[in-house]
Amino acid sequence: MKILLGYIVLFFSSTFITPLMAQTVTTEFSLDNGLKVIVREDHRAPVVVSQLWYKIGSSYETPGSTGLAHALEHMMFKGSSKLGPGESSRILRELGAEENAFTSDDYTAYYQVLARDRLEVALEMEADRLASLTLPEDEFIREIEVIKEERRMRTDDRPSGLAYERFKALAYPASGYHIPTIGWMHDLERMTIADLRNWHERWYAPNNAILIIVGDVAPDEVKTLVQRHFAKIPARPIPATKQPLEQAEPGQRSITLYLKTQLPSLMMGFNVPSLASSDNPTSVHALRLISALLDGGNSARLPTQLERQQELVAGASAWYNAFARGDSLFVLSATPNVQKGKTLAEVEAGLWQQLKQLQDTPATAAELDRVRAQVFAAEVYAQDSITSQAQQIGRLESVGLSWRLQDSDLAALQAVTPADIQAAAQQFFIPTRLTTAYVHPEETRP
């Protein structure tokens, strides 16, 4: 079944930003109103993807007003000056387009994938809801119920979703990253249409957006279309934004949860910087390599040592989002192999042993070569999808990094030495940076 939503895993640990292949042509320009436009040509098939990314997400929200970025995303489909509620979806569907939107901590993005001759329709409607969103109250009253259903489905009825929400709330004591993107239920209950009108007015301006177009198009042709529909939208002052920052060492924290699950599980998160917040990019690239060494494939350390050799876990993973707008987390998670009688405490010790191994022993050349081979191949494979290409650009640009980083990414990773990896492990994998969540089955509550 087709997945309806833009469902993106936030932390793409083992996914590297992919450097450009020699043959790709990417063009960047800006309109006078500040809208940044990035066009990448891919002429394999007569199709195109258009993505409009706004530099606004749930990490910009405040206590009591959580879930606004995501709720506004829903309401962007409810009409604008040229369009009635739901009409843009209706039109795009008749044109055979795929369309949807997605919201995260750092960005809100809207996209259409369609036959190349239909691009202008997508652009005209996207420009209209940027400039003149209607936000009808009767539609909001129904839509907020849809959002509550979404929350029940993704979070309240899903133990892994609920556990992650609570874990994240604890792991980010200082920054807006502790806010769940869908919003707390009690905030959804008291959200009003006025809150959303205010949100759109504050953040939805051409100078706070990046338009990314990938496919069978020429930059000049795109420029004409973008000018035609977006140039007349005036720039507006955007509130000054502050980068989400954490204490380097907030102190050791833990949370214990009893949920409607059969299997226990564990999450460990270390407060670490991102590429955008760090003054030492080498340590950030070292953390990315650590994530790949631990979980970059079936031959990585967690599946090899914990899953197959020790049979300690039924599954384990590691991930790190180096491309957040502010300070990030390095996360490990695992489920014990209960069939072998393994406990959460043993799994926790096993994960610490992995981290200690990273601190004490240099990674071998063979291991690092394997990681590089995977990075190189992944950069080729990612080009099979125009949507992946646009998303890689958007994830960088929306947090204030340049898409041109892709060009130097492989070199940046190759410059990391085994000693850099050890140094990063020693610096970051310490108890004072750690949040641990212990998830137990409800039946085992003492």
């Binding site: 209706r90 919201t103 992650y164 599980s265 031959s299 599946p303």
Partner: protein
Amino acid sequence: MMSLRMLSASLVSAVLLLSAGCSTFDRAQSAQATPTEQRISSLAALSKHNPVTRTLDIQQWHTSAGTKVLFMAAPELPMFDLRLTFAAGSSKDNTTYGLASLTNAMLNEGTGQLNAGDIATQFEDLGAQFSSGSYRDMAVVTLRSLSDPKLSAPTLALFSDVTAKPSFPADSLARIKNQLLASFEYQKQNPGQLASLALFEQLYGQHPYAHPSSGNAESIPAISAQQLRDFHRTYYSAENAQMTLVGDLTLAQAKAISEQVSTRLPRGTAAAMTPEPLTTAASHTHIEFPSEQTHILLAQLSVKRGDVDYPALFLGNQILGGGGFGTRLMEEVREKRGLTYGIYSSFSPMQATGPFMINVQTRAQLSQATLQLVQDLLREYIANGPTEAELADAKRESLGSFPLSAASNSAIVGQLAAIGFYDMPLTWMSDFMQDLQNLSVTDVHEAFKRHLNPDQLVIVTAGPHVEQLPLPEPVERSGQAATVERQH
């Protein structure tokens, strides 16, 4: 083996993002406002011609071992995809539930010379991606590789070993069984999955589609390595395989690869076709579960691959509940009443008759009213069929989306693999598109009446028993500046 590696991924899948869009479409709405094309100038300017479609030059042959091969050269990116399909899904389990799935999951666990770690290390050293999966009709083994022969030659040799000569080592078998048992424990926390398992049991009774493809906690522990070897020898044969190759390969290279891979497979015969299921009586099964939402599934046996009515059912379903926003179900249940995040309907044609299914989840207090609403909407659609305008929209949509179906190598691999497995003509994709364009309202209506009966639904609900509320009033959308004026 994807499902096992997903265990802890599921723990973090909530890490996600949320999203949504919305759509509206009101059949009852009067067309009083300005036509869309006057408001959206680019729509008026849009050419009435159908969109340009990528030309697919598909080659087909049989290898000397009898494997059918479909190939399309795509030299633009230095990579290729190889997909093998076998009639080796869980419909071949007989009474050993999970045998097909376990065989498939064990392929990359050992080859005699290499253990699971060696195999993973070698693929990953070469930048290659190996995966496998098992479903009701088919088992799938896939490879994505760079096309540089220095990398692709050893990758293909390893792929061939893993597919043709798996050793099913005892230590791996014990471990994979434990991981499967853990995944069954995970199922118990998921009311939607529990409902789906119950639904197939109800729909198929004693038929081989009835049991879960992955087996269950009772069947898995008893499966022996010898049973896996026997299953592999019987069903992973060259004669029971189809191969799809797409990417940066010449015809000569593709032919050489197909020979190399297929001739090492066991020799045998194509598997027998899956028998037809008996029709099932209407039923309603409820699974009590302590969730916030109730999951609702409605289904009926409906259509198999190759049925002449399938284009009509597909197109009719696009109007009813297929594909996302703008369908009748989405409009009435989500957009007007805010009852759910998503409601979908689908036909799943398989080798033997597959189900038509609607699935939706809603807050438990409204589950009975929602179920009634969905049944009413389905009954009305079967009784009266779509409108002319709805049919024209759906045809236009299918034409417009056609270029997207061949936009990437992976999309093309998926299409060709289905064509190969279900023995459809190479022109199937464009034939199907043409069939859709030729359909009338009567064709769709009659096909729905032939294949669905609103009094024969198998219904499964999973959720808590709570006091029920009536449906909320639907939101009215009259008076908006924008009434949908269809363009055609």
